[in-house]
Amino acid sequence: MTAVAAKPQSGKIFNPAAMVVGLVLLLILVGVCYVIVPVDSRIMVLMVLIGIIVGGVLIGFGVHFVPVGGAPAAMGQAPGIATGVAMLAAGAGLAGLFGGAWAADQGLLIAVITGGIGGGLMMAVTCMMVNFVYVFGMGIPAASGKVLKDPITGDSQPEYKSQGTEGHGLPFVSFVGGVIGGILGGAGGTLIYIELLGLYKATLPTVMNASADLVLPIAIATAGMFAIGLFLVNAVLTAYNITGTIEGPHDPKFKRWPRSVVASAVASALCGLVAILIVVL
């Protein structure tokens, strides 16, 4: 892809003024929620909004762990999985949301952890099969291009990197990163879903003037759609943060995570506020 105008190189990574503005925005949004909601349900709604923010931050932070190599990885030129980061994270997180939604009746804690395990399971299987293809289908061992020794296992990396490439496959730290990313993403998505589902189950019967059983499909489908929409927004924001590719938690780009946490928190607060206003207004 040829760029019309190259992005100007930014000198320092963090923009402290913007981070502060972001945090102020976050507080304003929470405050607006507190003020608009009628007094008797204030605490419950505030907990829902906090839950959504925490879920969004988990997603945004978790995506940093997922090892994505992009187009060069598809040729064995870079380590990581050869898919787009937002979409791979969305795949794992939504598989986790699937499991978490099924366990929704068993309480918040179990549902969120089940969602996390679902996402982690998908990433574990996928990462293992990626290495399987590299080792047995292509005859290439895994090697990282960013560190001299794998931080977890201590294996040395440079001599297992083929000539002219930046590394290939999934070294163990990338595998673990992928699983952690799947767990955090699945847990975050499920948390958002469960919070919204609880809110809608409690308030939609009065808003729509119908019995709780009848509006259950609406509550589930709306909460599910919001969870997916929020998931994609957070995943894409994180993809912008890491500019497309990252090797895993050992990559220097990982240090950019504070930016993403602030951005995800504000984005989730904003979207969560809108989701809450559907039943409040």
Partner: protein
């Protein structure tokens, strides 16, 4: 519907397309309100036309944004557009006849904040980022609203959440499960729109990019999405209304697809059928 057809001169400035697309979309959405006035579903096809208009605007915005080499692919822009758009659209449907305007304002606010976050907090520092993300969020919300109108005949919260099921072919009962939101069709509309908005730029990417070819492809994607959405609408609105939408979509699609092939023939280096690879010197 001249906005979709007059894309002959390449290089229409983005502001013109933005204003044209916005006006056409809002007008089409309000024309569909004739459904409520006449108490039928016959004007639902205006929702599909609103979708085409919004997509044309959106694809040009994606072209403006992604020309700056943002590092991730083009599809992510479509996803964030519709991710923010669906949230705005669902709240906006609660405002009755003002829903399209509320969706526009709300999505613009969400897009503005997301653009600020991406540009300043995430330090991307792309000149058009804030404006583009704002426009994309609005495009997302209005496209989804257009799909909602096409499939259910209305853009109000009640219309999107209620349907009816027929028991024993005779007794009809209200059911929340057979509805746009309750049945999850909003997810299908989400994906139809997000792939359709990023596909034209993604597919016409390259040194030989031409604006009229891209916009014709956008119209074709819009009408193609309208075809399948019209098929889905058979479950929720009367068969007559759905057939009207389907026919308009088919005619629009066939026309735009043939035009697109003609434009591709015009721009291609060569149009070969079962010929070998030409000898290029040195390779």
């Amino acid at each position: 519907m001249s906005v979709k057809v007059e894309v002959i001169e390449g290089g229409i400035p983005h502001t013109k397309i933005m204003i044209g697309g916005l006006v056409a979309t809002i007008v089409c959405l309000y024309l569909s309100y004739l459904n409520v006035v006449t108490n039928t579903g016959l004007f639902s096809f205006f929702g599909g036309l609103a979708v085409v208009a919004a997509l044309i605007w959106g694809s040009n915005t994606i072209k403006v944004l992604c020309s700056y080499g943002i590092g991730t692919g083009v599809p992510s822009a479509g996803m964030i557009a519709f991710g923010s758009g669906v949230i705005a659209m669902l709240l906006a449907t609660k405002f009755g006849i003002a829903a399209p305007i509320v969706a526009l304002v709300l999505a613009a606010v969400i897009g503005l904040i997301l653009g600020y976050l991406a540009n300043e907090v995430l330090n991307m520092k792309i000149p058009v980022m804030i404006q583009s993300l704002t426009e994309l969020a609005v495009v997302g919300a209005l496209t989804l609203m257009g799909f909602a109108v096409l499939i259910t005949g209305s853009f109000t919260f009640t219309g999107l959440t209620t349907g009816s099921i027929t028991l024993f072919g005779m007794i009809t009962m209200p059911s929340y499960q057979v509805s746009f939101i309750g049945g999850g069709l909003v997810a299908v509309a989400f994906l139809l729109g997000s792939i359709a908005v990023q596909h034209p730029f993604n597919a016409c990417l390259g040194p030989g990019w031409k604006q009229d070819r891209m916009l014709m492809l956008t119209a074709e994607c819009g009408f193609l999405s309208m075809i399948v959405a019209a098929v889905m609408s058979f479950a929720l609105i009367s068969a007559g209304a759905a057939i009207i939408s389907l026919l308009i979509a088919l005619i629009g699609w066939v026309y735009t697809y043939c035009e697109y092939i003609k434009l591709s023939k015009r721009d291609a280096f060569a149009w070969l059928d079962a010929k070998p690879i030409p000898d290029v010197e040195g390779h």
